[in-house]
Protein backbone atom coordinates (compact mmCIF):
# COMPACT_ATOMS: atom_id res chain seq x y z
CA UNK A 1 0.00 0.00 0.00
CA UNK A 2 1.24 3.46 -0.92
CA UNK A 3 1.94 5.68 2.07
CA UNK A 4 -0.98 8.04 2.64
CA UNK A 5 -0.16 9.92 5.84
CA UNK A 6 2.92 11.27 7.57
CA UNK A 7 2.45 11.61 11.32
CA UNK A 8 4.55 13.17 14.04
CA UNK A 9 4.52 12.16 17.68
CA UNK A 10 3.62 14.70 20.35
CA UNK A 11 7.31 14.84 21.28
CA UNK A 12 8.06 16.06 17.77
CA UNK A 13 5.71 19.05 17.98
CA UNK A 14 7.53 22.34 17.33
CA UNK A 15 8.47 24.10 20.59
CA UNK A 16 8.72 27.56 19.05
CA UNK A 17 6.65 29.65 16.67
CA UNK A 18 8.31 31.44 13.76
CA UNK A 19 7.91 35.22 13.71
CA UNK A 20 8.20 36.56 10.16
CA UNK A 21 8.57 40.12 11.51
CA UNK A 22 12.19 39.24 12.28
CA UNK A 23 12.85 38.92 8.57
CA UNK A 24 10.82 41.68 6.92
CA UNK A 25 10.56 45.40 7.32
CA UNK A 26 7.10 46.75 7.97
CA UNK A 27 5.71 50.25 8.16
CA UNK A 28 4.36 50.81 11.66
CA UNK A 29 0.57 50.55 11.82
CA UNK A 30 -1.00 53.99 11.94
CA UNK A 31 -3.76 55.17 14.21
CA UNK A 32 -6.66 57.38 13.14
CA UNK A 33 -4.52 60.45 13.82
CA UNK A 34 -1.93 59.27 11.31
CA UNK A 35 0.65 58.58 14.03
CA UNK A 36 2.00 55.07 14.77
CA UNK A 37 -0.22 52.96 17.02
CA UNK A 38 1.29 52.63 20.49
CA UNK A 39 0.82 49.59 22.75
CA UNK A 40 -1.30 51.57 25.22
CA UNK A 41 -3.86 52.24 22.47
CA UNK A 42 -4.48 48.48 22.25
CA UNK A 43 -4.35 47.84 26.01
CA UNK A 44 -8.12 48.27 26.54
CA UNK A 45 -8.75 45.20 24.39
CA UNK A 46 -5.60 43.03 24.51
CA UNK A 47 -3.45 41.95 27.48
CA UNK A 48 0.11 43.28 27.43
CA UNK A 49 1.67 39.84 26.87
CA UNK A 50 -0.23 39.55 23.58
CA UNK A 51 0.58 43.15 22.62
CA UNK A 52 4.26 42.32 23.20
CA UNK A 53 3.94 39.43 20.73
CA UNK A 54 2.11 41.69 18.29
CA UNK A 55 5.09 44.04 18.07
CA UNK A 56 7.91 41.55 18.68
CA UNK A 57 10.66 41.12 16.13
CA UNK A 58 12.18 38.10 17.87
CA UNK A 59 12.48 35.33 15.25
CA UNK A 60 11.63 32.32 17.40
CA UNK A 61 9.13 32.55 20.25
CA UNK A 62 8.68 29.73 22.76
CA UNK A 63 5.33 27.94 22.82
CA UNK A 64 4.32 27.60 26.49
CA UNK A 65 4.01 24.03 27.79
CA UNK A 66 0.39 24.71 28.86
CA UNK A 67 -0.44 25.68 25.26
CA UNK A 68 1.32 22.61 23.83
CA UNK A 69 -0.68 20.47 26.25
CA UNK A 70 -3.98 21.70 24.80
CA UNK A 71 -2.78 21.70 21.18
CA UNK A 72 -1.82 18.05 21.68
CA UNK A 73 -5.55 17.19 21.70
CA UNK A 74 -5.31 17.23 17.90
CA UNK A 75 -1.76 18.21 17.01
CA UNK A 76 0.47 17.38 15.31
CA UNK A 77 -2.05 17.39 12.49
CA UNK A 78 -1.49 14.82 9.73
CA UNK A 79 0.30 15.52 6.50
CA UNK A 80 -1.66 13.61 3.88
CA UNK A 81 -0.71 12.76 0.33
CA UNK A 82 -3.63 13.43 -2.01
CA UNK A 83 -3.09 10.22 -3.97
CA UNK A 84 -6.70 9.96 -5.14
CA UNK A 85 -6.64 13.51 -6.45
CA UNK A 86 -3.31 12.87 -8.21
CA UNK A 87 -4.85 9.82 -9.86
CA UNK A 88 -8.04 11.65 -10.87
CA UNK A 89 -6.00 14.39 -12.50
CA UNK A 90 -3.43 12.01 -13.99
CA UNK A 91 -0.72 14.38 -12.82
CA UNK A 92 2.91 13.51 -12.18
CA UNK A 93 2.84 16.05 -9.33
CA UNK A 94 3.04 14.77 -5.77
CA UNK A 95 0.42 16.64 -3.79
CA UNK A 96 0.47 16.88 0.02
CA UNK A 97 -1.82 18.70 2.40
CA UNK A 98 -1.83 19.61 6.05
CA UNK A 99 -5.27 18.69 7.33
CA UNK A 100 -6.40 21.17 9.97
CA UNK A 101 -9.96 19.86 10.08
CA UNK A 102 -8.93 17.44 12.84
CA UNK A 103 -9.17 20.10 15.55
CA UNK A 104 -12.25 19.94 17.82
CA UNK A 105 -13.96 22.93 16.12
CA UNK A 106 -12.89 21.59 12.70
CA UNK A 107 -10.53 24.31 11.48
CA UNK A 108 -7.09 25.88 11.97
CA UNK A 109 -8.58 28.65 14.13
CA UNK A 110 -7.88 27.07 17.55
CA UNK A 111 -4.13 27.21 16.80
CA UNK A 112 -4.37 30.86 17.87
CA UNK A 113 -7.49 30.68 20.05
CA UNK A 114 -5.66 28.41 22.51
CA UNK A 115 -2.57 30.62 23.04
CA UNK A 116 -4.74 33.74 23.14
CA UNK A 117 -6.90 32.23 25.89
CA UNK A 118 -3.73 31.14 27.70
CA UNK A 119 -2.06 34.57 27.62
CA UNK A 120 -5.27 36.27 28.74
CA UNK A 121 -5.66 33.83 31.61
CA UNK A 122 -2.03 34.42 32.61
CA UNK A 123 -2.64 38.16 32.58
CA UNK A 124 -5.52 37.72 35.02
CA UNK A 125 -8.35 38.07 32.54
CA UNK A 126 -11.53 36.15 33.30
CA UNK A 127 -13.70 36.79 30.26
CA UNK A 128 -13.12 37.11 26.51
CA UNK A 129 -15.39 38.68 23.93
CA UNK A 130 -15.29 38.34 20.18
CA UNK A 131 -17.34 38.58 17.02
CA UNK A 132 -17.93 35.83 14.51
CA UNK A 133 -19.36 35.60 11.04
CA UNK A 134 -19.63 31.99 9.96
CA UNK A 135 -18.97 30.85 13.51
CA UNK A 136 -15.59 29.18 12.89
CA UNK A 137 -13.70 31.68 14.99
CA UNK A 138 -16.40 31.95 17.65
CA UNK A 139 -16.47 28.19 18.12
CA UNK A 140 -12.65 28.01 18.23
CA UNK A 141 -12.50 30.66 20.96
CA UNK A 142 -15.35 28.99 22.87
CA UNK A 143 -13.37 25.73 22.81
CA UNK A 144 -10.15 27.44 23.95
CA UNK A 145 -11.86 29.36 26.76
CA UNK A 146 -13.39 26.14 28.05
CA UNK A 147 -9.91 24.61 28.23
CA UNK A 148 -8.64 27.46 30.42
CA UNK A 149 -11.81 28.08 32.45
CA UNK A 150 -12.50 31.50 30.93
CA UNK A 151 -15.92 32.94 30.22
CA UNK A 152 -16.55 33.59 26.54
CA UNK A 153 -19.03 35.94 24.91
CA UNK A 154 -19.54 35.72 21.16
CA UNK A 155 -21.45 38.27 19.09
CA UNK A 156 -22.56 36.39 15.99
CA UNK A 157 -23.85 38.35 13.01
CA UNK A 158 -27.65 37.93 13.02
CA UNK A 159 -27.91 36.52 9.49
CA UNK A 160 -25.36 33.78 10.30
CA UNK A 161 -26.87 33.21 13.74
CA UNK A 162 -30.15 32.33 12.02
CA UNK A 163 -28.54 30.31 9.22
CA UNK A 164 -26.12 28.27 11.35
CA UNK A 165 -27.78 27.05 14.52
CA UNK A 166 -25.23 24.27 14.95
CA UNK A 167 -22.33 26.72 15.26
CA UNK A 168 -24.23 28.45 18.05
CA UNK A 169 -24.86 25.08 19.69
CA UNK A 170 -21.15 24.22 19.48
CA UNK A 171 -20.25 27.42 21.28
CA UNK A 172 -22.89 26.86 23.94
CA UNK A 173 -21.75 23.26 24.40
CA UNK A 174 -18.29 24.59 25.23
CA UNK A 175 -19.90 26.94 27.75
CA UNK A 176 -19.78 30.18 25.74
CA UNK A 177 -22.60 32.64 25.48
CA UNK A 178 -23.48 33.33 21.86
CA UNK A 179 -25.87 36.17 21.04
CA UNK A 180 -27.17 37.47 17.74
CA UNK A 181 -25.68 40.82 16.76
CA UNK A 182 -26.95 43.49 16.95
CA UNK A 183 -28.02 42.72 20.48
CA UNK A 184 -29.57 44.61 23.36
CA UNK A 185 -26.44 43.97 25.43
CA UNK A 186 -24.44 46.92 24.15
CA UNK A 187 -25.20 50.53 23.36
CA UNK A 188 -23.94 49.99 19.81
CA UNK A 189 -26.43 47.15 19.36
CA UNK A 190 -29.33 48.98 20.98
CA UNK A 191 -28.80 52.08 18.82
CA UNK A 192 -28.85 50.03 15.62
CA UNK A 193 -31.90 48.03 16.68
CA UNK A 194 -33.76 51.23 17.52
CA UNK A 195 -33.20 52.46 13.98
CA UNK A 196 -33.53 49.17 12.09
CA UNK A 197 -35.16 46.49 14.26
CA UNK A 198 -35.09 43.86 11.51
CA UNK A 199 -31.45 44.36 10.51
CA UNK A 200 -29.56 41.16 9.58
CA UNK A 201 -26.45 42.63 11.20
CA UNK A 202 -22.91 42.88 9.87
CA UNK A 203 -19.38 42.08 10.93
CA UNK A 204 -18.74 45.76 11.57
CA UNK A 205 -21.60 45.95 14.06
CA UNK A 206 -20.56 42.69 15.74
CA UNK A 207 -16.97 43.97 16.19
CA UNK A 208 -18.30 47.18 17.73
CA UNK A 209 -20.38 45.16 20.17
CA UNK A 210 -17.56 42.80 21.13
CA UNK A 211 -15.12 45.67 21.70
CA UNK A 212 -17.69 47.63 23.69
CA UNK A 213 -18.40 44.58 25.87
CA UNK A 214 -14.67 44.41 26.64
CA UNK A 215 -14.00 48.07 27.35
CA UNK A 216 -17.18 48.58 29.39
CA UNK A 217 -16.20 46.06 32.06
CA UNK A 218 -15.10 48.35 34.86
CA UNK A 219 -13.41 45.45 36.70
CA UNK A 220 -10.80 45.28 33.94
CA UNK A 221 -11.19 41.50 33.75
CA UNK A 222 -12.58 41.37 30.20
CA UNK A 223 -10.63 41.55 26.97
CA UNK A 224 -11.35 41.12 23.27
CA UNK A 225 -9.92 38.45 20.98
CA UNK A 226 -9.36 38.54 17.22
CA UNK A 227 -8.85 35.45 15.08
CA UNK A 228 -7.17 36.80 11.96
CA UNK A 229 -5.05 39.50 10.36
CA UNK A 230 -2.93 40.59 13.34
CA UNK A 231 0.72 39.62 13.71
CA UNK A 232 0.32 37.48 16.82
CA UNK A 233 -2.39 35.46 15.08
CA UNK A 234 -0.06 34.74 12.15
CA UNK A 235 2.67 33.82 14.61
CA UNK A 236 0.54 31.23 16.43
CA UNK A 237 -0.52 29.65 13.15
CA UNK A 238 3.05 28.96 12.03
CA UNK A 239 2.95 25.68 13.92
CA UNK A 240 1.20 24.33 10.79
CA UNK A 241 4.12 25.00 8.45
CA UNK A 242 6.75 24.05 11.03
CA UNK A 243 5.11 20.65 11.46
CA UNK A 244 4.78 20.26 7.69
CA UNK A 245 8.52 20.83 7.22
CA UNK A 246 9.34 18.09 9.72
CA UNK A 247 6.85 15.71 8.12
CA UNK A 248 8.16 16.29 4.60
CA UNK A 249 11.72 15.89 5.84
CA UNK A 250 10.77 12.47 7.25
CA UNK A 251 9.93 11.25 3.76
CA UNK A 252 12.72 13.09 1.98
CA UNK A 253 10.49 15.64 0.27
CA UNK A 254 10.57 19.43 -0.02
CA UNK A 255 7.84 21.43 -1.77
CA UNK A 256 8.32 23.22 -5.07
CA UNK A 257 5.07 25.07 -4.44
CA UNK A 258 3.17 26.06 -1.29
CA UNK A 259 -0.49 27.11 -1.53
CA UNK A 260 -3.01 28.47 0.95
CA UNK A 261 -6.24 30.41 0.74
CA UNK A 262 -5.94 33.99 1.89
CA UNK A 263 -8.98 35.62 3.42
CA UNK A 264 -7.61 37.31 6.51
CA UNK A 265 -4.34 35.50 5.82
CA UNK A 266 -3.98 33.33 8.91
CA UNK A 267 -4.24 29.84 7.46
CA UNK A 268 -2.08 30.84 4.51
CA UNK A 269 0.51 32.42 6.80
CA UNK A 270 0.43 29.43 9.12
CA UNK A 271 1.56 27.06 6.42
CA UNK A 272 3.59 29.45 4.29
CA UNK A 273 5.65 31.64 6.64
CA UNK A 274 8.11 28.91 7.67
CA UNK A 275 8.71 28.29 3.96
CA UNK A 276 9.02 32.04 3.36
CA UNK A 277 11.86 31.88 5.88
CA UNK A 278 13.53 29.22 3.71
CA UNK A 279 12.95 31.31 0.59
CA UNK A 280 14.52 34.35 2.23
CA UNK A 281 17.49 32.07 2.97
CA UNK A 282 17.89 30.94 -0.60
CA UNK A 283 15.47 28.06 -1.20
CA UNK A 284 13.80 28.03 -4.58
CA UNK A 285 10.10 27.75 -3.92
CA UNK A 286 6.89 29.29 -5.27
CA UNK A 287 4.42 30.44 -2.64
CA UNK A 288 0.85 31.33 -3.60
CA UNK A 289 -1.77 33.00 -1.43
CA UNK A 290 -5.10 32.45 -3.19
CA UNK A 291 -7.98 34.89 -3.00
CA UNK A 292 -11.32 35.37 -4.75
CA UNK A 293 -11.09 36.96 -8.18
CA UNK A 294 -11.75 40.63 -7.62
CA UNK A 295 -13.45 43.14 -9.84
CA UNK A 296 -10.97 44.62 -12.28
CA UNK A 297 -12.68 47.98 -12.36
CA UNK A 298 -13.05 50.19 -9.35
CA UNK A 299 -12.39 53.76 -10.28
CA UNK A 300 -13.98 56.17 -12.65
CA UNK A 301 -10.63 57.49 -13.74
CA UNK A 302 -8.99 56.27 -16.91
CA UNK A 303 -6.26 54.44 -15.02
CA UNK A 304 -5.16 54.64 -11.42
CA UNK A 305 -2.60 53.08 -9.21
CA UNK A 306 -3.42 52.84 -5.57
CA UNK A 307 -2.55 51.11 -2.39
CA UNK A 308 -5.30 48.96 -0.96
CA UNK A 309 -5.16 50.62 2.42
CA UNK A 310 -4.28 53.92 3.97
CA UNK A 311 -0.95 52.80 5.29
CA UNK A 312 0.15 51.53 1.91
CA UNK A 313 0.79 47.97 3.03
CA UNK A 314 -0.89 46.32 0.11
CA UNK A 315 0.63 46.05 -3.33
CA UNK A 316 0.19 48.72 -5.89
CA UNK A 317 -2.79 47.86 -7.98
CA UNK A 318 -3.76 48.98 -11.38
CA UNK A 319 -7.43 49.77 -11.42
CA UNK A 320 -9.17 50.50 -14.67
CA UNK A 321 -12.70 51.44 -15.52
CA UNK A 322 -14.30 51.46 -18.90
CA UNK A 323 -17.92 51.43 -17.91
CA UNK A 324 -19.57 48.42 -19.45
CA UNK A 325 -16.36 46.88 -20.72
CA UNK A 326 -13.87 45.54 -18.22
CA UNK A 327 -10.23 45.51 -19.18
CA UNK A 328 -8.31 43.67 -16.48
CA UNK A 329 -4.71 44.77 -16.50
CA UNK A 330 -2.29 41.84 -16.32
CA UNK A 331 -1.22 42.72 -12.80
CA UNK A 332 -4.77 42.63 -11.52
CA UNK A 333 -5.00 38.99 -10.65
CA UNK A 334 -4.22 38.35 -7.03
CA UNK A 335 -3.92 41.89 -5.80
CA UNK A 336 -4.51 41.03 -2.15
CA UNK A 337 -6.24 44.35 -1.88
CA UNK A 338 -8.88 43.27 0.59
CA UNK A 339 -8.20 45.47 3.58
CA UNK A 340 -8.85 42.54 5.91
CA UNK A 341 -5.65 40.89 4.68
CA UNK A 342 -2.83 40.48 7.14
CA UNK A 343 -0.28 43.27 6.59
CA UNK A 344 2.56 40.76 6.79
CA UNK A 345 1.09 38.75 3.90
CA UNK A 346 0.61 41.91 1.85
CA UNK A 347 4.16 43.06 2.60
CA UNK A 348 5.63 39.73 1.48
CA UNK A 349 3.68 40.02 -1.75
CA UNK A 350 5.06 43.52 -2.27
CA UNK A 351 8.57 42.18 -1.76
CA UNK A 352 7.99 39.50 -4.39
CA UNK A 353 8.30 36.59 -1.97
CA UNK A 354 4.71 35.56 -2.65
CA UNK A 355 2.87 35.30 -5.94
CA UNK A 356 -0.84 35.81 -5.29
CA UNK A 357 -3.40 33.94 -7.40
CA UNK A 358 -7.10 34.58 -7.79
CA UNK A 359 -9.93 32.23 -8.77
CA UNK A 360 -13.60 32.78 -9.45
CA UNK A 361 -16.26 31.14 -7.35
CA UNK A 362 -17.21 28.50 -9.92
CA UNK A 363 -13.61 27.24 -10.16
CA UNK A 364 -13.38 27.07 -6.39
CA UNK A 365 -16.53 25.02 -5.92
CA UNK A 366 -15.62 22.69 -8.77
CA UNK A 367 -12.31 22.06 -7.05
CA UNK A 368 -14.03 21.55 -3.69
CA UNK A 369 -16.33 18.93 -5.14
CA UNK A 370 -13.44 17.19 -6.88
CA UNK A 371 -11.51 16.95 -3.62
CA UNK A 372 -14.58 15.78 -1.70
CA UNK A 373 -15.15 13.04 -4.28
CA UNK A 374 -11.53 11.93 -4.42
CA UNK A 375 -9.90 12.56 -1.04
CA UNK A 376 -13.19 12.14 0.78
CA UNK A 377 -13.23 15.19 3.03
CA UNK A 378 -15.75 17.98 2.35
CA UNK A 379 -13.61 21.11 2.46
CA UNK A 380 -14.53 24.32 4.24
CA UNK A 381 -15.68 26.70 1.47
CA UNK A 382 -12.73 29.05 1.97
CA UNK A 383 -10.31 26.13 1.55
CA UNK A 384 -11.73 25.71 -1.94
CA UNK A 385 -9.75 28.71 -3.17
CA UNK A 386 -6.52 26.92 -2.37
CA UNK A 387 -7.86 23.75 -3.95
CA UNK A 388 -8.67 25.55 -7.21
CA UNK A 389 -5.06 26.68 -7.39
CA UNK A 390 -3.74 23.20 -6.55
CA UNK A 391 -5.85 21.61 -9.28
CA UNK A 392 -4.63 24.24 -11.72
CA UNK A 393 -0.98 23.65 -10.80
CA UNK A 394 -1.37 19.88 -10.96
CA UNK A 395 -2.85 20.11 -14.46
CA UNK A 396 0.01 22.37 -15.56
CA UNK A 397 2.50 19.87 -14.15
CA UNK A 398 0.81 17.22 -16.28
CA UNK A 399 1.01 19.38 -19.40
CA UNK A 400 4.67 20.09 -18.74
CA UNK A 401 5.44 16.54 -17.56
CA UNK A 402 6.99 17.89 -14.34
CA UNK A 403 7.07 15.95 -11.07
CA UNK A 404 6.41 18.93 -8.87
CA UNK A 405 5.84 18.63 -5.14
CA UNK A 406 2.81 20.71 -4.18
CA UNK A 407 1.93 21.41 -0.56
CA UNK A 408 -1.28 23.10 0.53
CA UNK A 409 -3.22 23.86 3.66
CA UNK A 410 -6.59 22.16 4.04
CA UNK A 411 -7.74 24.68 6.60
CA UNK A 412 -10.88 22.94 7.76
CA UNK A 413 -13.82 20.71 6.96
CA UNK A 414 -17.08 22.09 5.67
CA UNK A 415 -19.54 19.91 7.54
CA UNK A 416 -21.15 22.76 9.45
CA UNK A 417 -20.88 25.19 6.58
CA UNK A 418 -22.80 23.42 3.87
CA UNK A 419 -24.95 26.40 2.87
CA UNK A 420 -22.54 27.41 0.13
CA UNK A 421 -22.47 23.87 -1.27
CA UNK A 422 -26.24 23.89 -1.10
CA UNK A 423 -26.26 26.94 -3.29
CA UNK A 424 -23.74 25.42 -5.71
CA UNK A 425 -25.75 22.23 -5.96
CA UNK A 426 -28.95 24.28 -6.19
CA UNK A 427 -32.00 22.45 -7.31
CA UNK A 428 -31.17 19.31 -5.39
CA UNK A 429 -31.45 20.60 -1.85
CA UNK A 430 -33.86 23.11 -0.41
CA UNK A 431 -32.48 26.37 0.83
CA UNK A 432 -33.84 29.03 3.10
CA UNK A 433 -36.62 31.19 1.69
CA UNK A 434 -36.24 34.60 0.17
CA UNK A 435 -39.05 37.12 -0.22
CA UNK A 436 -40.73 37.02 -3.62
CA UNK A 437 -39.79 40.64 -4.24
CA UNK A 438 -36.11 39.69 -3.97
CA UNK A 439 -36.57 37.09 -6.69
CA UNK A 440 -38.32 39.54 -8.99
CA UNK A 441 -35.68 42.14 -8.32
CA UNK A 442 -32.94 39.61 -9.09
CA UNK A 443 -34.49 38.72 -12.42
CA UNK A 444 -34.82 42.38 -13.32
CA UNK A 445 -31.21 43.10 -12.41
CA UNK A 446 -29.87 40.23 -14.48
CA UNK A 447 -31.89 41.32 -17.50
CA UNK A 448 -30.96 44.96 -17.25
CA UNK A 449 -27.34 44.52 -16.22
CA UNK A 450 -25.89 41.60 -18.14
CA UNK A 451 -22.39 40.50 -17.26
CA UNK A 452 -19.94 42.70 -19.16
CA UNK A 453 -17.60 41.24 -21.69
CA UNK A 454 -14.14 40.75 -20.26
CA UNK A 455 -11.46 41.83 -22.68
CA UNK A 456 -7.90 40.67 -22.37
CA UNK A 457 -5.08 43.15 -22.79
CA UNK A 458 -2.90 40.47 -24.30
Amino acid sequence: MERKKVLLSEDEMPRQWYNVLADIKMNPPLGPDGKPVSPDMLAPVFPMNIIEQEVSSQRWIDIPEEVLGILAIWRPSPLIRATALEKALGTPARIYYKYEGVSPPGSHKPNTAVPQAYYNKKFGIQRLTTETGAGQWGSALAFACAQFGLECKVFMVRISFDQKPYRKTMMQTWGASCVASPSMETKAGRDILAKTPDTPGSLGIAISEAVEAAVSDSSGKTRYSLGSVLNHVMLHQTIIGLEAKKQLEKIGEYPDVVVGCAGGGSNFAGLAFPFVYDKINGKKIDIHPVEPAACPTLTKGPFAYDHGDTAGYTPLLAMHSLGHTFVPPPMHAGGLRYHGMAPTVSQLAVEGLLEPKAYGQIDTFEAGLLLARTEGVIPAPETNHALACVVDLARKAKEEGKQKVILFNWSGHGLIDLGSYEKYLAGQIKDFEFPAKDIEEAEKILQQYPKPQILKCR
Partner: protein, 87 residues
Protein backbone atom coordinates in the same frame (compact mmCIF):
# COMPACT_ATOMS: atom_id res chain seq x y z
CA UNK B 1 -38.90 28.67 -2.84
CA UNK B 2 -35.28 27.57 -3.15
CA UNK B 3 -32.07 29.46 -3.67
CA UNK B 4 -31.96 27.87 -7.12
CA UNK B 5 -34.75 30.27 -8.01
CA UNK B 6 -32.79 33.25 -6.80
CA UNK B 7 -29.67 33.72 -8.88
CA UNK B 8 -28.56 36.63 -6.74
CA UNK B 9 -27.39 34.62 -3.78
CA UNK B 10 -23.71 33.89 -3.20
CA UNK B 11 -21.26 32.97 -0.49
CA UNK B 12 -20.17 35.99 1.49
CA UNK B 13 -16.38 35.82 1.95
CA UNK B 14 -16.66 37.85 5.16
CA UNK B 15 -19.49 35.93 6.81
CA UNK B 16 -18.75 32.54 5.28
CA UNK B 17 -22.35 31.78 4.38
CA UNK B 18 -24.86 32.46 1.61
CA UNK B 19 -26.32 35.97 1.39
CA UNK B 20 -28.74 37.65 -0.99
CA UNK B 21 -27.62 40.63 -3.07
CA UNK B 22 -30.11 42.72 -1.10
CA UNK B 23 -27.99 42.05 2.01
CA UNK B 24 -24.83 43.29 0.29
CA UNK B 25 -26.67 46.48 -0.68
CA UNK B 26 -27.63 47.36 2.88
CA UNK B 27 -25.47 45.46 5.37
CA UNK B 28 -23.30 48.35 6.54
CA UNK B 29 -26.13 50.13 8.36
CA UNK B 30 -28.13 50.69 5.18
CA UNK B 31 -24.94 51.23 3.15
CA UNK B 32 -23.50 48.76 0.62
CA UNK B 33 -20.73 46.45 1.74
CA UNK B 34 -17.29 47.71 0.70
CA UNK B 35 -16.70 44.39 -1.10
CA UNK B 36 -19.92 44.48 -3.13
CA UNK B 37 -18.18 45.14 -6.44
CA UNK B 38 -15.57 42.42 -5.95
CA UNK B 39 -18.22 39.88 -5.07
CA UNK B 40 -20.75 40.54 -7.82
CA UNK B 41 -18.77 41.56 -10.88
CA UNK B 42 -18.69 37.97 -12.09
CA UNK B 43 -22.50 37.80 -12.10
CA UNK B 44 -23.70 41.05 -13.61
CA UNK B 45 -22.59 44.62 -14.31
CA UNK B 46 -22.57 45.67 -10.67
CA UNK B 47 -20.69 48.91 -11.34
CA UNK B 48 -23.33 50.17 -13.73
CA UNK B 49 -26.06 48.98 -11.39
CA UNK B 50 -24.61 50.97 -8.50
CA UNK B 51 -24.04 53.97 -10.73
CA UNK B 52 -27.72 53.88 -11.61
CA UNK B 53 -29.03 53.28 -8.10
CA UNK B 54 -26.80 55.21 -5.72
CA UNK B 55 -26.59 58.97 -5.32
CA UNK B 56 -23.48 60.20 -7.11
CA UNK B 57 -21.58 61.09 -3.95
CA UNK B 58 -22.24 57.72 -2.35
CA UNK B 59 -21.28 55.90 -5.55
CA UNK B 60 -18.03 57.86 -5.73
CA UNK B 61 -17.29 57.17 -2.07
CA UNK B 62 -17.84 53.45 -2.53
CA UNK B 63 -15.79 53.20 -5.72
CA UNK B 64 -12.90 55.24 -4.39
CA UNK B 65 -12.89 53.81 -0.89
CA UNK B 66 -9.43 53.37 0.61
CA UNK B 67 -10.06 50.80 3.32
CA UNK B 68 -8.10 51.17 6.52
CA UNK B 69 -5.60 48.73 7.94
CA UNK B 70 -7.16 46.43 10.52
CA UNK B 71 -5.19 47.84 13.41
CA UNK B 72 -6.19 51.38 12.46
CA UNK B 73 -9.88 50.52 12.32
CA UNK B 74 -9.57 48.56 15.56
CA UNK B 75 -8.12 51.58 17.37
CA UNK B 76 -11.02 53.63 16.01
CA UNK B 77 -13.57 51.08 17.20
CA UNK B 78 -11.95 51.05 20.66
CA UNK B 79 -12.17 54.83 20.91
CA UNK B 80 -15.80 54.84 19.73
CA UNK B 81 -16.70 52.15 22.28
CA UNK B 82 -15.01 54.07 25.10
CA UNK B 83 -16.92 57.17 24.07
CA UNK B 84 -20.23 55.26 24.18
CA UNK B 85 -19.36 53.90 27.61
CA UNK B 86 -18.47 57.41 28.86
CA UNK B 87 -21.79 58.76 27.54
Amino acid sequence: MTSAQNPLVRRCPRLGGPVAFSYCLRCEVEQPCFKIVDCWWETFDIVQYLRDHLPEDRFDRLMNARPKAKITSLVEVIEQARQRVRD
